[in-house]
Amino acid sequence: MADLKILTVDDSPTMRRIIINTLKRAGYNKVVEATDGKDALAKLKVEEVNFVITDWNMPEMDGLTFVTVLRSMEEYKSIPILMVTTRSVKDDIVNALKAGVNNYIVKPFTPDTLKQKIEQVLAG
C-alpha cells in the first residue's frame, strides 16, 4: 500500500480533493492529480504511477478515450484502472469495460466503496 502511487484524473477540483482525502484516509498517501486525459498522459511521462482512477466526462480528452489510449500503450497495457463517474447507463458501463477499465464506481460513492474497489482491483 505504501508504495502504491495513484493517479486521479477528474476535471472537477472538488472531486479531486474528495478522492485524494479519501485515499489518504485509507492509507494511500502517494497521489498525483490530473484535470483530464491529456493532462494525465503528460503526468504519466514524468511520474511513475501504478494505479489510475479516472472520471469519464472531461474536456480535452474524456475518460473513455484516455483508457483506450492507455491500453494501446505497451507500458500501461496492464496498469489497474478504476473509473469513477456519474454515468450509470448500462451501455456506458459495458463500453468502459470493453475499453479496459478493471472496475467502475458511480458517483456519488462512499469511502468504503472506493477502498473496497481499489483492493478488489489490486487483488486481481
Binding site: 477528474d10 476535471d11 472537477s12 477540483p13 472538488t14 472531486m15 480533493r17 474528495i18 482525502n21 479519501t22 484516509r25 469519464w56 466526462n57 472531461m58 474536456p59 474524456d62 463517474t85 456519474t86 454515468r87 450509470s88 447507463v89 448500462k90 458501463i93 459495458v94 469495460l97 472496475n103 467502475y104 464506481i105 458511480v106 458517483k107 456519488p108 460513492f109 462512499t110 469511502p111 466503496t113
Partner: protein
C-alpha cells in the same frame, strides 16, 4: 359588363385581398420581432446566471473542504497527543485518567469520522455543476435558434451572426443523466456486470 371585365374585377379584388393579407402578415412579424429580440437578450443572461451560481457553489464547497480538512488535521493531532498521553500515564494513575483519555480519543475519532462524512456529501457540487452545465447548454441552443429566427426576420441587420454566437459559447462537459440519487444502474448491478465480463 363583358366576361373579360368581370374576370379583371375579380382578379383586382383577389390582388387587393392578397395585399391586405401580406400587410397583416408583415405587421404580425413586426409584432413578433420584439418579444423574440427580448427573449434573445434574456437567454444569455440566464446562461450567465447559471455560470455564476456554478462558480459560487464551487467556491463555497471549497471553503467547506478547507474547514473539513483543518478539522480532520486538528483532530488527528489531538488523537495522536492523547494516545501519547495515555502511554505516559503510570500504572498507578491509569484508572480514571486512562478512562478519560480513552473517552476523549473516542470523541475525537467520532469528530474525524463526521468530518469525512461531510466531505463525502460535498460530491453534490460535481453533480449539480454538471446539471447546471446541461441547462446552460440547452439555453445556448435556444439562443442559437432564436438568433437564427431574428437573423431571417431582420435580414442582414440581425443582432448578431448565428456563427458568431456559436463561437462565444464556452465548451461544456457534462453527463446529461448526472443525478444524486437516480442511478440508472446500481453498484451491485455494476459489480455483477464486471464479474460476468471477467468470466468471459
Amino acid at each position: 359588363m363583358s366576361g373579360t371585365d368581370d374576370l379583371q374585377t375579380r382578379i383586382q379584388k383577389e390582388i387587393l385581398e392578397l395585399t391586405s393579407s401580406i400587410n397583416d402578415v408583415v405587421q404580425k412579424f413586426k409584432e413578433l420581432k420584439n418579444p423574440l429580440a427580448e427573449s434573445h437578450e434574456k437567454v444569455p443572461r440566464a446562461t450567465e446566471q447559471l455560470d455564476v451560481i456554478n462558480e459560487q457553489t464551487e467556491a463555497a464547497t471549497h471553503r467547506m473542504l478547507d474547514m473539513v480538512e483543518q478539522i480532520t488535521q486538528r483532530e488527528e493531532e489531538v488523537i495522536q497527543g492523547l494516545t501519547e498521553l495515555k502511554d505516559w500515564t503510570t500504572k498507578k494513575q491509569a484508572g480514571d485518567a486512562g478512562d478519560m483519555v480513552n473517552k476523549l480519543i473516542e470523541k475525537a475519532n467520532t469528530t474525524v469520522s463526521d468530518a469525512y462524512t461531510i466531505m463525502n456529501a460535498l460530491q453534490f457540487q460535481d453533480i449539480t455543476s454538471q446539471q447546471m452545465n446541461h441547462a446552460a447548454f440547452l439555453l445556448e441552443e435556444v439562443e442559437g435558434k432564436l438568433n437564427g429566427i431574428i437573423h431571417v426576420l431582420q435580414g442582414s441587420q440581425s443582432v448578431s451572426d448565428p456563427k458568431e454566437s456559436e463561437k462565444k459559447t464556452k465548451p461544456r462537459v457534462f453527463d446529461p443523466h448526472a443525478d444524486m440519487s437516480d442511478k440508472k444502474t446500481d453498484q451491485s448491478e455494476i459489480d455483477s456486470l464486471i464479474s460476468r465480463s471477467n468470466n468471459t
